[in-house]
């Protein structure tokens, strides 16, 4: 049908059913993707964050598995054999050097596992001490962040959801703790908790293995660092509870705890995970700082901070003993920070521009 110019008639060509080829054209080019998949994709595109992620995984795996098969342990003084005087040739060995008895065994054709980083002033294999220190530092960082997360999440969601007087009181407490100079309070608490008889209180329980000092570290974190997390969660919940789906849930008779668990927490989870990830390097920082001041882990257990602190005594002769833990700690903190930043860029939808 030819169409007359200037005609008001409808062009019937436009109403012919679509052919298969045309339908094909309208189909989505790629399968729909979830929020999580989208985030992972964005994260993988961020090369720095991906590299950092692999560094963290590598260091974590090394810290977990190397002590399992390493022939030396972190507290074994190699120069000491029962029934014999202390052999000083094991103390302060350089990298790939051997003590006198080990040298004899090598001369006799035996194979001796090398001391990759040498030994320290008490004749302990330094490599395994660094690995163990990494393990402790990572564990403290991880568990401290979990503790902070749990307390902050509980308090924050109560304050945010209840509102009114409860919120007011909680937030005033949070304000006050927040304005306390945290590091000084941490030092004070750690100094006092060390002598407060905590070691006797936990004697004979599972906690004894962890050591009183690390537990007091956790207590310190639990007491002080939950405030910013609870502020964050409260803010999230305050903005989320105005959403229509919460109103709908309430209209259908959902209870408060249900709404918090099923609607509010899942919707604020990405922000929470990101700030937890960024909390880990913070905790590692604090732990190493306290260990450096002599308030960290119990000797002979090493942490990266206490290793660096011990190295200060023989700094002139053995600078490598400081440099090695320094590099490891900086590497961990740097990669965790950069990975956390990448995580935030990838998963925080409000920042996507």
């Amino acid at each position: 049908m030819t169409k007359k110019p200037f005609s008001q008639h409808v062009d019937l060509d436009m109403f012919i059913p679509a052919t298969d080829a045309e339908k094909e054209y309208m189909v989505q080019m790629r399968p729909s993707s979830t929020f999580f998949k989208d985030g992972v994709k964005r994260l993988l595109k961020n090369k720095v964050a991906t590299v950092c992620f692999f560094i963290i995984v590598l260091i974590t795996l090394a810290a977990i598995f190397i002590p399992m098969f390493w022939p030396y342990s972190y507290d074994q003084m190699l120069g000491i054999t029962p029934g014999r005087p202390v052999d000083p040739s094991y103390n302060n060995l350089g990298a790939f050097e051997y003590g006198s008895t080990e040298q004899e065994r090598i001369d006799a054709g035996e194979k001796v596992f090398p001391h990759i980083f040498g030994t320290d002033s008490s004749g302990r294999d330094y490599f395994i001490r660094v690995v163990y220190g990494t393990r402790i530092s990572l564990a403290v960082g991880f568990f401290a962040s979990i503790i902070v997360l749990i307390i902050g999440m509980t308090v924050g969601s109560i304050a945010g959801y209840c509102g009114g007087k409860v919120d007011l009181i909680i937030m005033r407490i949070v304000d006050m703790i927040y304005s306390l100079p945290d590091m000084l309070m941490v030092i004070l608490l750690a100094a006092v908790l060390q002598v407060s008889g905590l070691d006797k209180a936990i004697e004979g329980t599972v906690l004894e293995k962890i050591g009183a000092n690390i537990i007091s570290l956790f207590i310190v974190f639990a007491l002080l660092y939950w405030v910013s997390m609870s502020r964050l969660i409260r803010g999230q919940i305050l903005s989320l509870r105005e959403q229509e789906y919460v109103l709908a849930a309430r209209a259908t008779g959902a209870k408060g705890s249900w709404i918090v668990r099923k609607h509010l927490i899942p919707n604020s989870i990405s922000v929470v995970i990101i700030s937890t990830a960024l909390q880990i390097p913070n905790a590692i920082f604090t732990e190493s700082y306290l260990s450096f001041l002599g308030l960290g882990v119990n000797a002979p257990m090493p942490s990266l901070g206490s290793l660096a602190s011990d190295a200060l005594n023989g700094l002139t002769s053995y600078p490598m003993r400081l440099v090695i833990p320094a590099i490891v700690i900086s590497l961990i903190v740097l990669s965790l920070n950069l990975f956390g930043d990448g995580l935030r860029d990838a998963f925080d939808p409000k920042l996507n521009s």
């Binding site: 100079p181 000084l184 900086s330």
Partner: protein
Amino acid sequence: MNSKLLWYIVKRILLAVATVWLVITVTFFVTRAVPGGPFLGEKAISEAATAALEAKYGLDKPVMEQYLTYLGDVITKFDFGPSLKQRGQDVIDIIGRGLKVSVKLGVTAAVIALISGVVFGAIAALRRNKFVDKIIMVITTAFVSMPSFIMGSLLLVLFALKLRLVPANGAEAGGLILPVITLALYPMAYITRLTRSSMLDVLGQDYIRTARAKGVSGPKIIFGHALKNSLIPVITYFGPMLAYIVTGSLVVEQIFAVPGIGRSFVSSITDRDYTMIMGTTIVLATLIVVMNLISDLLYKVVDPRITLE
């Protein structure tokens, strides 16, 4: 000055006072957990100190009474009692002596950090995505991730022990150079990043475009408009910077053997000198709270657009 601003200032000052009171209270009661209480500790102390403390705080009296005496002494006379371990010396005298050195160290570090941070930040912003910017960002990222004690130890090994450019002991002439640099690096890196991002923000504003369109010269735009406005967020960092410098100085003074308040604090922790620990914590915490207050108020006064809550 409007009444809203005045009310904000009053509220902020009240919070600061409450915080200082909380610090004193927490410090007192936390140290009660020490076997024997804070005034005796678990180790033997000198007879004179015991007698003086006994007379002053009435160690046989109830805890609340001891607390009120302590609180009153601290607030009215800055009196923290005698040191438990350094015989015949009052805590406040030891703190006063150390504070002189530490303030010199801290203020120098803060000034250096501010000036160099703003300069580097401005350069990075003006050369955005160029080579200079990338180098500055990489270096500052590295500095931000390095704990101060590690930075200090590495600088000590490199410049004092290997190259022998400066003395390793902070008490000698020129010995403060390395501690100052150690303390300044982290805040400098932070201020650089802060200045860079806020300057980039300001450079995208309409009034910059207007100025450019009017034909205002490049340097005048940068110094008269962009830099001035991008410095406002830096003011908020004053308080945290001081907190960082105070806690950083604890370890830095330890590493470089600087006879400041931080070093005496750390040695009082290892000596379990509780009156000293309490006194130093309270003094340093008050310092931080006051600086936070000043930086908060300054921020509100400088930028009238900021809403008062």
